[in-house]
Subunit: 199 residues, 4 copies
Amino acid sequence: METYSTKQIAIFNATLQLVEERGFHGTPMSAVAEKAKVATGTIYHYFKGKDQLLKELYAFCRHQLVEVTIEAAKEKNEYKEKFKSIWIALYNFYINNSQILIFFELYINSPFSKNKQNYKTEEDTTESSPLYNFINIGKDNGQLKNITTDILLIQILSNCVAYAKLHLFTQHNLNVEDIDIIVEMTWDAISQSNKVENQ
Amino acid sequence: METYSTKQIAIFNATLQLVEERGFHGTPMSAVAEKAKVATGTIYHYFKGKDQLLKELYAFCRHQLVEVTIEAAKEKNEYKEKFKSIWIALYNFYINNSQILIFFELYINSPFSKNKQNYKTEEDTTESSPLYNFINIGKDNGQLKNITTDILLIQILSNCVAYAKLHLFTQHNLNVEDIDIIVEMTWDAISQSNKVENQ
Amino acid sequence: METYSTKQIAIFNATLQLVEERGFHGTPMSAVAEKAKVATGTIYHYFKGKDQLLKELYAFCRHQLVEVTIEAAKEKNEYKEKFKSIWIALYNFYINNSQILIFFELYINSPFSKNKQNYKTEEDTTESSPLYNFINIGKDNGQLKNITTDILLIQILSNCVAYAKLHLFTQHNLNVEDIDIIVEMTWDAISQSNKVENQ
Amino acid sequence: METYSTKQIAIFNATLQLVEERGFHGTPMSAVAEKAKVATGTIYHYFKGKDQLLKELYAFCRHQLVEVTIEAAKEKNEYKEKFKSIWIALYNFYINNSQILIFFELYINSPFSKNKQNYKTEEDTTESSPLYNFINIGKDNGQLKNITTDILLIQILSNCVAYAKLHLFTQHNLNVEDIDIIVEMTWDAISQSNKVENQ
DNA sequence: TATGAATGAGACTTCATTCAT
DNA sequence: AATGAATGAAGTCTCATTCAT
């Protein structure tokens, strides 16, 4: 993870804001420059072009997500508690950074990310992804179902994003109790449990 | 649901193909016209502008999704079986119509859909949505957890879309057994069950 | 002067209305068709194209102006009274047909009338123009200044149009007394008079 | 009065030339750019759009007209001489700047000037208009008829423009003697004079 | 006669990118 | 390092005109 100058950060933030409001197409470099209070040309000092800017911004945001995950994992000791902590941390991150949420969704599906591999980025699949590792540990423990890590990962993340969007973009605000129910539900889905059906 | 002329359908299909390949921004009206084998002006004869075209295309695709759901619901009698049938039908629809999947994802997050309410459209929340009703029935039966329908809806749909994307855009192809595991997992999440924790 | 069918008249009127509101550029054939309640193609049955339509409309309107002049000239016997009668008739015609006034002004200055000769059309300069003849009579009588008829013509007409515009497009409404003053003033300008300067 | 860059002036001049030759409709921005020897985008760097360009061009031209009037008023001392000087200066300005003459005529009647108030612009009616003031002085002196200034203004200006057009666009070229007759005629119209009718 | 769907050239405008300062 | 005027390709959309019915 390289470090970024004040101006680069300003450019990142300006881009995020504008993309949330107007999408990629509605976010010309000139508008980014204006919002970031730099000249258009300045953006081109730091980034080769628009594609580059978006790509680096994507990495920049993913990095934050990883940080959040790592921090959350430190909080609790027990596995299920750790899981809940991580899930909620991610959820809260999206809630508090709706620009990043939208940016991700647009970026992943757009041809800016030329190959769709980004959908599940290297970061997620390699050792470097804390969540990926965390799931593997759970499987080894016998606490998570013994199925492909990718599947469990999606089971966790897709819901997390979807609920964040429900909260942000609809009237249906989720409160703490709702969140708890949801996390439990997700836990039900992924956990290795003995289960007795209703009679 | 209005009916569309041959030319309109051709325009819809051309748009879907191009958007999947290149995104909204990379899909100029001229390219749509060319692929649909009509003149540019013809598109404007049927649709007020690009926004209108995308909006109507969205409705057109949603309609198909609803149809698929309705058909799938007819197949089985038992509730859980009906649920699995619907989930798999939707999953297969996305698998076989990746253009629609991508289009949805882009459209929902883009400023083309001016109000984000589209995220959970009227169709989903009203009686007219077969899935919405289906969930309510399950809650009344005591077969589904007694929590807000919106939450259960997301639990089902977000996974479905996410797995379709996993299958389509990564090397990780899901086979029939995988799908079965996933559906069971989702059922675990939403079903009202007596559960005995691991000992 | 050929005669026009009901539909042609409807097309003329629609054009006049639209041109007044939006200018030539803002008046597409489709809008004319709609306002005239005919199909676009129908206009092309009657007129070769837009240029033709405008040209014939110009002639159509000029003809009305000539008629108005002829009628007004019949009313009075004395020369000066005849003059006043004609001037006021033209002024009233413009006041009551602002669409025609605007249409004239736009058409005369526009490249639709390919050669600027239209500025002073044949009709004005030939025997067929009643006003032209009327001025010549005045000169022969010794009641009008003995200068080129064109100059006298302009002295009369340019004011007439200008005052009509003042009345129509500004807050400055002209009443009957104002008009009388103006006509007298114009008479002062063109009449052959003995004049004693202020001392 | 703001100042304009070399490029803006070039754009103005290109527009004037093209509008005279082909009208507003026949003057695409691309043609303006080409004639002004700038890129299309450059026009949009200076002007928000075509409307803006035309509006600013109108103000630019009006300003020149005001300057001409002011200069002409300085030349002579006696009131009537001053009047003649101004009238002829304006006439010559139009003769030598036929593009501006045509541009004015088109602009004033077109929907580009959204409100027709432009017909008699602020400049003409306020203290800032030298001609307006000049007329008021004449009225106070008792040298001009004691009628509304607007009316006298039109009496002067409408003729001036009309004769310029006669000269420019017809075979009827006006020489110095003609002009003198015309100015005297206009003076007859507006001046407060003792007059003895023909006997 | 009359219709109006269809055409496609061309208008206006945007915007990623460059470059002289 | 920073600026922002300038560029021009490319996009959206309009509209005069045609033609099968």
